[in-house]
């Protein structure tokens, strides 16, 4: 009898302690953050997230890698349809139009800050970046985070091995680059002279901006859904024809779609690579030769070149879900606040090759002499802001851009295989791309 009473009271006391303990400790509000970073970049980002989590106890952000940018986008959309969308998702810049028109699926960033009362100043971002992610009224829809721009990485040791002095060899125009690449390949200094990653981004989207020619009508789609592609202009065709000729003579080797060509530079295979400025982290880790960063080459015949380049990379979008609470949105807002401070923007720029997206960061580092000590690190920012943007170089907003990019890849490859002329390939790309744009227009009008 006594033992039973003792046991019962013991259990009652333990239960009370547990219940009290649970009530006393409030669970932090959890936020799901999906991103598309692997390797060095993923580690840096998840490090920042860990810092945020440790700096306070109200909120906890759970980062997870969901695959490449394209895979992350698809995963987020599928999750939304299932009602389990993440709170925050990193979406690449070409998904902007699809996300912008998504209506009830996303919560624009300016609305998020208004509703949660977290203070935020949209004027902190440089125009090239803010303009890309804002609606026509200038209100910020997504949070800029990692913006890059393509530059040309140059293997100085390979140039020297081919008998070219990097200090005096001109590499400004495509004609210069072609000649240098040919010398490198002929001398056997590297198997591949020049190549590029993200063919559509570097050779069409940025190419058009850099040469101040339209990528698409209606200011590259910024001014309306009735936009049409313009990548079969004489300049675009001449450029593709040049690439076909360069491949035939051996100075250019096609590196594949997406980021497939990225490893070709740090491995020493290609002596010059037009690729994202964000490749810096990888080059620092893997390359065993002396390298430098330069502006992308341009065609001297084009009057408007060089104009300025446009951004790539990604931004952070807030997603809606049926049972999302204001506390969860507050958690997201606080996290966005955390990573957009001047200090964090500077750290992100220094740790990776991504651009300093806030006013003040570039100027501060310049004043400190950072760019003198680290030549090449200022090149992306300088190229991006070389001139005030024109209608052709503010950025682009084309619906279903991933699909259009895939079409451009296909047509370029057919031209490089010799199955079509450059003119035919680009005419077909325009035709197919316009069908996609009309479908997008039909969905939203």
């Amino acid at each position: 009898m006594r033992m039973r009473l003792f046991h019962r009271s013991l259990i009652a006391i333990l239960a009370a302690i547990l219940a009290f303990g649970t009530v006393a400790q409030a669970q932090p509000v959890e936020v799901e953050f999906w991103h598309g970073f692997t390797g060095a970049l993923g580690e840096v980002l998840e490090g920042y997230v860990a810092e945020f989590n440790e700096s306070q106890t109200d909120y906890q952000v759970n980062p997870s890698y969901k695959g490449s940018y394209a895979d992350t986008m698809v995963a987020a959309i599928a999750a939304f349809r299932a009602g389990t969308a993440p709170h925050l998702v990193q979406m690449f810049e070409v998904g902007t139009a699809t996300m912008m028109y998504a209506g009830g699926a996303i919560k624009p960033v300016y609305e998020l800050f208004e509703e949660t009362g977290v203070p935020f100043d949209p004027e902190i971002y440089i125009p090239a970046i803010a303009g890309y992610y804002s609606d026509p009224d200038g209100r910020l829809l997504s949070m800029p985070f990692n913006s890059s721009t393509p530059i040309m990485w140059v293997n100085l040791d390979a140039l020297r091995a081919a008998g070219l002095d990097p200090a005096t060899t001109p590499l400004e125009t495509w004609a210069d680059v072609r000649a240098a690449a040919k010398s490198v390949v002929d001398a056997g200094a590297a198997p591949c002279g020049v190549s590029f990653a993200w063919p559509s981004w570097t050779q069409y989207e940025n190419f058009s901006a850099w040469h101040d020619v339209p990528l698409a009508t209606l200011a590259n789609g910024m001014e309306g859904l009735g936009t049409e592609l313009a990548i079969n202009s004489p300049l675009h065709v001449a450029h593709l024809q040049m690439l076909v000729d360069m491949q035939a003579e051996g100075s250019f080797t096609y590196g594949g779609r997406g980021s497939a060509a990225d490893p070709l530079f740090s491995s020493g295979e290609c002596s010059m690579l037009v690729a994202s400025s964000g490749l810096l982290a990888r080059i620092l880790r893997e390359s065993t030769f002396e390298w430098s960063a330069r502006y992308m080459p341009y065609h001297a015949e084009a009057e408007g070149a060089p104009q300025n380049s446009i951004i790539g990379g990604a931004s952070l979008w807030v997603m809606q879900a049926p049972d999302r609470t204001i506390e969860e949105y507050s958690a997201v807002a606080e996290f966005l606040n955390f990573i957009s401070t001047l200090e964090m923007a500077e750290r992100w720029h220094l740790d990776t090759g991504y651009l300093p997206i806030r006013f003040g960061v570039y100027e501060k580092l310049e004043a400190e002499g950072y760019y003198v000590e680290n030549p090449g690190r200022a090149v992306p920012y300088q190229q991006l802001t070389l001139n005030p943007p024109t209608e052709n170089s503010r950025g682009l907003r084309l619906g279903n851009m991933p699909e259009i990019r895939a079409m451009i890849y296909e047509e370029i490859e057919l031209a490089l295989q010799g199955q079509k002329t450059a003119q035919q390939a680009l005419d077909t790309a325009v035709e197919r791309g316009n069908v996609v744009l009309r479908n997008f227009q039909r969905t939203y009008e």
Binding site: V74, I77, F80, N400, P402, E413
Partner: protein
């Protein structure tokens, strides 16, 4: 009086079948019905704006020359993979059947490729055949062969066929070997006594008796070539260069996942399902007649 076994319990058979039926309904019939429904919609990726458009998606898909191109690629690909997987498997099975010493060792090794996941096999072969970092790739280029599957469509198609067939050889080998071993030795010996040469013995006696296995493997291999080769193509060539390795399955994936055209992709999957069902029905009706059980 003949004794017939009558199963008294009327309910038990159905109860025993329910788990299997449930799995079939949930994982096959329901998604198929959903695909059929979605194929008649025009919607944005998020599903927030949908319009019912009847058969317009089917019209768009079937009238696209690129779809017909993908169908052609799929035909070439499936025939090549099926032949490429079955013929070597038959040869290996015949040889393994005759070996006495180390038979278990050979069988184990031949079966191993089947255990490798498609994407892993694809990446493995990618590294072997890569023009600049692969042993075979470098070797071919050293011999003067212009080997670069990133640029030449025919080479890319050859590569994905090779890898897909290689993976499936093990599966076919197992079944062929089992089939060969179930053929009574007495029949083959009788043919030998009658004076038939080994080749004659094989083609007139063994092969017809192997026909149930061959028929089964034909059906399975064709379905494999249509559907399960997606992983290999995605890991190696992503449907490129140009559209050289874009099969119907890969095109379906591209339209659904990358282009987020769910209506068009569902229409394609309905068409593909219909095509494979028709193919299987034809096989059962016409080829099965020639199978000796």
């Amino acid at each position: 009086m003949r004794r017939r076994t009558i199963f008294r319990n009327k309910l038990l058979p159905y109860l025993l079948l329910i788990p299997q039926l449930a799995v079939t309904i949930i994982f096959f019939f329901y998604p198929a019905a959903q695909a059929l429904y979605q194929s008649m919609l025009f919607e944005d990726p998020f599903g927030l704006r949908t319009q019912f458009i009847w058969f317009e998606n089917f019209q768009t898909v079937l009238s696209s020359p690129l779809y017909l191109e993908a169908a052609r690629v799929t035909l070439v690909f499936s025939v090549a993979v099926t032949l490429g997987a079955m013929a070597p498997a038959l040869l290996l099975a015949v040889m393994a059947d005759q070996v006495i010493r180390g038979a278990a060792g050979y069988r184990t090794l031949i079966v191993w490729p089947y255990a490798i996941a498609p994407a892993v096999a694809a990446v493995l072969m990618l590294f072997i055949f890569h023009p600049t970092i692969g042993q075979v790739g470098q070797g071919l280029r050293a011999l003067g062969v212009p080997w670069d599957y990133r640029i030449h469509g025919g080479q890319a198609l050859f590569l994905v066929i090779f890898v897909s067939a290689w993976k499936q050889v093990s599966y076919n080998f197992l079944f062929f070997l089992a089939g060969l071993q179930s053929i009574p030795k007495t029949i083959v010996e009788a043919a030998a006594i009658d004076g038939a040469s080994p080749a004659r013995r094989f083609w007139t006696v063994v092969f017809p008796l192997l026909s149930p296995t061959t028929f089964f493997l034909l059906v399975v291999n064709i379905i494999y070539a249509f559907f399960d080769t997606f992983g290999v193509i995605h890991a190696q060539t992503q449907g490129g260069p140009g559209r050289a390795t874009t099969t119907l399955m890969y095109r379906l994936y591209r339209d659904g996942w990358v282009n987020l055209d769910l209506g068009g992709s569902s229409a394609q999957s309905v068409l593909l399902m219909t095509a494979v069902i028709a193919l299987t029905v034809i096989q059962f009706r016409y080829i099965e007649r020639r199978v000796h059980y």
